[in-house]
């Protein structure tokens, strides 16, 4: 019964979305206020209906209602409750339902918070948002319906893939989708602006908070996936340039570029054409990511739907939306004449450079991900594009980006002073130099690039801090003046600094762990010891253990340093019952200097076990960095001036521009 209510709501939501698409846009054309006003309640109704459908499915999962095909295929009665719930989106049908639910959530947000939007812009935005819903709801209802029943209902489900039964992974898809789908906001606003023909700073003021919120969620979502891979997959890697990772990374890159260029548009009414194009491209990449992941065109573990019907459907959606938006862009771009002019060396110029490098990097990922498929389709030749390619193309673009990053905030709008900026960064430069020299001194014969990489991270952090120090006249003005300035600095300024520091911290982690990782692969008998990175690990033996839906072998390693016991590690191997799958659980000891990471391997002939031991220096900085970036975004989002619909601040004095 509950499933039927869910099913019914789902279909009803499609009808509502259809109304939300047609009526407001038509109303905007006819200048009919009544029709335009239908958009908001329709968006709210659509969200409520989808929420009902989603909860319907969730109840079916929680109560293990195996009369639903989807629940039967993806759940099991012995599964812990958390994974019964996360199982809802741990499969194709359910995750598509989550996709449209989040889409509707964003539409609903426009309806509720967009009271002071110009009515025709709001109507068009809701209409475009509704049309995306129509496309994906049709897709769900016709090809991927989660409410399909089976008769007779089986007694037991087939279970969720055990490696997905993990807390971090349970929340990874919702965050990822909040990001991915959140960019639909920028898309809808861009298309609406092209329809109404008005693109002004107010537009950017509206789009920026939404894009920022989506970007934050995507950052967190990607970080969670990477964190999960790190500890669950058992070889201490954290990023693999897998096509599915790339599918979420490309919208992130484009979204990052969009955040920066929207700033130029908001403050200087410049770069309109590019900003609108980028808004369209960012969501297009999200759509493409959905297509890549959902259609099964990728030869990757992730591509599971080998059903071409679905692939062709999403491809159709993608072609219509991207093609339509780009055609509209081509025909209306001339309306968007450029506003303010600026010199190459200026805040705008720095942000253009940021966009050039990030967009090119995004293109590199795009080409590397799609080229093998395209080549195979055209010539039949099969090639692989793996990490070495991305390291060679993506990596070099990041170096100038990181070097230039601290300069940006120091340059004034319109015309900047590069010499002045360099002087203000001299302390940061000296700190960076000292760190590089120290790193060379300590690392000895290590890879010669590594200290430079560390220097890059320090440079970004010190540069970001210098900006705040300069703006509050640290060490130049009396302390009470400094504190007054610190208080008055807009939150957005702190947000920028914090996010940039996050990047620097992440760079430190990446450089340290990729260049100074140590590894030992060996076999140990009970009582034998191994040493790595100053730790002494004594293997005590293996014990069998039984979990809720798996059995496992747990090894005990006693870790000591300088004769004193530090901790005990329990790397294990699990064998899940349904479906029958083996996983490894790494034993990890985290310290500030790095992670001691141990993996239990197979039993060898002589009663010994194989072990893989790693020491990953500063590896946690990677995820700490992403968290810092997230909080930077959060700080900006709470800035009054960015808050949706907030009137312009009357405050004079401390302005975001560096020129004081």
């Amino acid at each position: 019964m509950i499933a039927e209510i869910g099913h019914f709501s789902l279909i009803l939501a499609l009808g509502v979305a259809l109304a939300q698409t047609i009526l407001p846009i038509w109303g905007a054309q006819q200048r009919d206020n009544t029709l335009m006003r239908i958009g908001a309640p329709a968006a709210q109704a659509q969200f409520c209906l989808l929420l009902l459908a989603f909860f319907g499915l969730m109840i079916a999962y929680v109560t293990s209602d195996f009369s639903l095909l989807n629940v039967f295929q993806n759940s099991h009665s012995a599964k812990p409750l958390l994974y019964k719930i996360s199982g809802v989106w741990g499969n194709h049908e359910g995750s598509m339902l989550l996709w449209v639910l989040i889409l509707a959530l964003f539409g609903c947000a426009v309806a509720m918070f967009g009271r002071n939007l110009p009515p025709d812009l709001k109507a068009n935005v809701l209409g475009v948002q509704g049309s995306i819903s129509v496309a994906f709801l049709t897709f769900i209802v016709t090809t991927s319906n989660p409410f399909t029943r089976i008769d007779p209902a089986p007694f037991e489900g087939q279970g969720l893939n055990p490696i997905l039964q993990d807390p971090a992974l349970s929340f990874h898809p919702p965050f990822l989708y909040m990001g991915y789908v959140g960019f639909s906001m920028a898309f809808s606003f861009a298309v609406a602006a092209l329809i109404t023909g008005r693109v002004d700073p107010a537009w950017a003021r509206w789009v920026r908070p939404w894009t920022l919120a989506a970007w934050m969620c995507l950052t967190l979502g990607i970080a969670m996936g990477s964190w999960w891979a790190y500890y669950e997959l058992g070889w201490g890697g954290w990023w693999f340039w897998d096509p599915v990772e790339n599918a979420s990374f490309m919208p992130w890159l484009a979204g990052t570029a969009l955040l920066h260029t929207a700033l130029v548009m908001e403050k200087r009414d410049s770069l309109k054409v590019w900003t609108i194009l980028l808004a369209i491209l960012t969501f297009s990449l999200s759509l493409m990511g959905t297509f890549l992941v959902r259609s099964g065109v990728l030869t990757s573990v992730h591509a599971f739907a080998v059903d071409p019907e679905r692939g062709v459907f999403i491809l159709g959606i993608m072609v219509i939306f991207i093609g339509g938006a780009l055609a509209l862009f081509a025909s209306r771009a001339q309306v968007l004449r450029q506003g303010g002019i600026f010199a190459p060396v200026s805040r705008e110029g720095a942000l253009v450079l940021n966009n050039l490098l990030i967009s090119t990097a995004c293109a590199a990922v795009f080409i590397g991900t799609l080229y093998p498929m395209a080549l195979e389709a055209v010539t039949g030749a099969k090639i692989s594009v793996g990490p070495p390619f991305f390291n060679a193309t993506f990596g070099p673009l990041m170096v100038p980006l990181l070097i230039a990053m601290p300069f940006g905030p120091f340059l004034a709008w319109k015309r900047g002073d590069i010499l002045g900026a360099s002087q203000r960064l001299s302390v940061a430069a000296i700190v960076t130099m000292l760190v590089i020299i120290a790193a060379y001194a300590f690392s000895g014969s290590g890879p010669w690039l590594a200290p430079l990489g560390l220097g890059l991270g320090i440079w970004v952090i010190a540069g970001a801090l210098s900006e705040i120090a300069f703006r509050v006249k640290m060490f130049k003005a009396p302390w009470d003046e400094v504190f007054r300035r610190l208080r008055n600095l807009p939150r957005a300024a702190y947000g920028t600094t914090t996010a940039h520091i996050g990047i620097g911290v992440m760079v430190l982690g990446i450089v340290a762990t990729t260049t100074w990782q140590s590894e030992k692969i060996l076999s140990l008998k009970p009582g034998q010891s191994a040493s790595i990175a100053g730790y002494e690990l004594k293997y005590m033996g293996v014990e069998p253990h039984k979990g809720a839906n798996y059995s496992e072998q747990i090894a005990l390693l006693v870790v000591s340093r300088g004769g004193e016991e530090v901790t005990r590690l329990f790397p294990s191997k699990r064998l899940y019952v349904a479906p029958k799958t083996a996983t490894t659980e790494a034993g990890i000891h985290a310290a500030w200097t790095g992670d001691l990471y141990s993996v239990l391997g197979d039993e060898l002939k002589d009663g010994a076990f194989a072990f893989r031991l790693y020491f990953n220096p500063l590896v946690r900085f990677i995820w700490i960095g992403t968290l810092i970036m997230f909080f930077g975004g959060l700080m900006s989002l709470t800035d009054r001036r960015l808050r949706v619909g907030a009137p312009k601040p009357a405050r004079v004095g401390v302005r975001p521009a560096a020129a004081e």
Binding site: P173, D242, H302, I367, S384, P387, T581, A582, G601
Partner: protein, 158 residues
Amino acid sequence: MARIITLVLLVFIMVLPVTSVTAVEPDEILKDPALESRARDISLELRCLVCQNQSIDDSNAPLAKDLRVLVRERLIKGETNAQVIDFIVARYGEFVLLKPRFAMHTLLLWIATPLLLLIGMFVMYRSYKLRKGDARSRAAKGLSVKEQRELKKLLKET
């Protein structure tokens, strides 16, 4: 290199081989550390053919193990890294390389990124020139008749 992120997806591969994730095993490791480190470098650039998107260094599939052993055998025979890779490519095709070779059919793949960077720089330069020209010609022309009329109107209002 097949793990991660939109993990949602993993879900459907119900038929994972029931083995552990050990990849390189202790008994494979060569005594000579220099040779072993070369073997590892090579392994990282070769794809495991049965497990999609994993290097043979990370993979626990039997075929990956065979390849790792093969790489080490060739190295012991005194072959260079390039010779070993050539031998494997001759046997298994170019698909085995995680870093595609620079050739006609991968030309676009390799040059696209630098090319796009150059094009981007050119567009930046052009639009800067254009904007500068625009601003200059506008400044040279002064206000149009219509603009002067608007200005007058505005001045009167205040």
